[in-house]
C-alpha cells in the first residue's frame, strides 16, 4: 500500500508546515482549522492521483542528505566562476557555448534531479531534455569542463538508486 505511505508522509509534512507557519500550538480553533486544511489537501491530492513516488519521493530523502551538501559546494564554486566571468577577473570572460550531454539515470526522478542540478549551478542551464540527451547552454569554459567530467552524473545516479524499476526512461530515445 505505497499510496497510503505517501499519504501519511504528505499529511505529516503539511501538518508540520502548518504549525511552523502559524506558530500557535495551544490555540484549539487554529489547530482544528489546520487539521481540516491538511485533510482536504491530502484527499484532493489522492483523488488527483498525485500521491505517487514521482511527486513525493520519500525514500530518497536520506540519500539526498548526502547529495545536497555536495550540490551546495558545486553551486558555490560555480557562482564564483560566473562572477569572475562577469566582472572579467583575471582575464576571464563570458564564452557562451551549447553542447549535449548524455544522462545515464534510469528513473524520471533521477533525470529531473540531474537536469535541475545542472540548471541550479550557475554557468550551465539545461535548455532541452529529449530522452537521455540534455542540451546545455554554458557561460564559461570552466562550467563545460566541470560537466564533462561526469561527476554530477555519477552522483545523481547514486542518488536515485538503481534498484527501482518503475518510471523507466526508454533507452536511446532522442
Amino acid at each position: 500500500m505505497i499510496v497510503f505511505l505517501h499519504a501519511v508522509s504528505l499529511t505529516f509534512a503539511l501538518s508540520v508546515l502548518w504549525i511552523l507557519l502559524s506558530g500557535y500550538l495551544d490555540h484549539a480553533l487554529l489547530l482544528y482549522l489546520g487539521a481540516v486544511s491538511v485533510v482536504l489537501c491530502v484527499v484532493i491530492s489522492w483523488r488527483m492521483g498525485l500521491l505517487d513516488r514521482e511527486g513525493h519521493p520519500v525514500e530518497l530523502v536520506f540519500r539526498g542528505l548526502l547529495y545536497w551538501p555536495w550540490l551546495g559546494k558545486e553551486i558555490v564554486l560555480a557562482n564564483i566562476d560566473v562572477a569572475k566571468a562577469i566582472i572579467g577577473w583575471g582575464g576571464a570572460a563570458p564564452d557562451p557555448t551549447m553542447f549535449d550531454v548524455r544522462a545515464s539515470q534510469k528513473t524520471a526522478v533521477g533525470l529531473v534531479t540531474y537536469a535541475n542540478s545542472i540548471t541550479l549551478t550557475p554557468g550551465t542551464v539545461t535548455v532541452a531534455a529529449e530522452g537521455d540527451r540534455l542540451t546545455i547552454h554554458a557561460l564559461t569554459s570552466g562550467a563545460v569542463e566541470g560537466l564533462a567530467g561526469g561527476e554530477m552524473d555519477r552522483r545523481v545516479r547514486w542518488f536515485e538508486g538503481t534498484r527501482i524499476s518503475d518510471g523507466r526512461i526508454p533507452e536511446g530515445g532522442a
Binding site: 508546515l17 511552523l20 507557519l21 506558530g23 553551486i75 558555490v76 557562482n79 560566473v82 562572477a83 562577469i86 566582472i87 563570458p94 564564452d95 557562451p96 557555448t97 551549447m98 553542447f99 549535449d100 550531454v101 548524455r102 537536469a115 535541475n116 542540478s117 540548471t119 541550479l120 549551478t121 550557475p122 554557468g123 550551465t124 542551464v125 539545461t126 535548455v127 532541452a128 547552454h137 557561460l139 569554459s141 563545460v144 569542463e145 564533462a148 567530467g149 561526469g150 552524473d153
Partner: protein
C-alpha cells in the same frame, strides 16, 4: 560577546551576498543575450539569495523566523531551475537563437577522456 560574534557573522554573510547580487545585477545589464543573462539571474537566485537568508538566520536565532527563512530558501532553490529551464525552452521554441558556439564533447559514454581546453571539435 556572543551578540557581537553573531553580528559579525551576519555582516560577513550579508556582505558576500550583496557583492554577489551586485555582480549578478551587473551581469543582467552587461551580458550579451538572454541566454547568457540567465546565468546572471541564476547567481541572484542561488548563492546571492542563500547567503543573505543565511545571514539573516544568524540574526534571528533559533526562532520560527529562521524556519521561515529556510523555507523561503528551499522554495526558491526548488523553483528557480524550473523557471530557468522553462524560460530557456520557451526562448528556443520561440525561434530565439543564442549567440553561442556549438561544442561537441568527445564521447559522452566515456567521460574520462576530458577535453583539456574548451574548444574541442568546435562547430560553427
Amino acid at each position: 560577546m556572543i551578540e557581537l560574534v553573531l553580528d559579525a557573522v551576519t555582516a560577513l554573510f550579508l556582505l558576500a551576498g550583496c557583492i554577489l547580487l551586485l555582480i549578478g545585477g551587473f551581469g543582467l545589464l552587461r551580458l550579451p543575450d538572454a541566454f547568457a543573462r540567465l546565468h546572471a539571474a541564476g547567481m541572484i537566485d542561488t548563492l546571492g539569495l542563500a547567503l543573505i537568508l543565511v545571514g539573516l538566520m544568524f540574526q534571528a536565532g533559533l526562532t520560527l523566523v529562521t524556519v521561515k527563512l529556510g523555507l523561503i530558501a528551499v522554495f526558491v532553490l526548488y523553483t528557480s531551475p524550473v523557471v530557468s529551464h522553462a524560460l530557456a525552452r520557451a526562448a528556443l521554441a520561440g525561434g530565439f537563437r543564442p549567440g553561442a558556439r556549438h561544442v561537441v564533447l568527445p564521447d559522452p559514454s566515456s567521460p574520462k577522456s576530458l577535453p583539456s581546453g574548451s574548444g574541442e571539435g568546435r562547430a560553427p
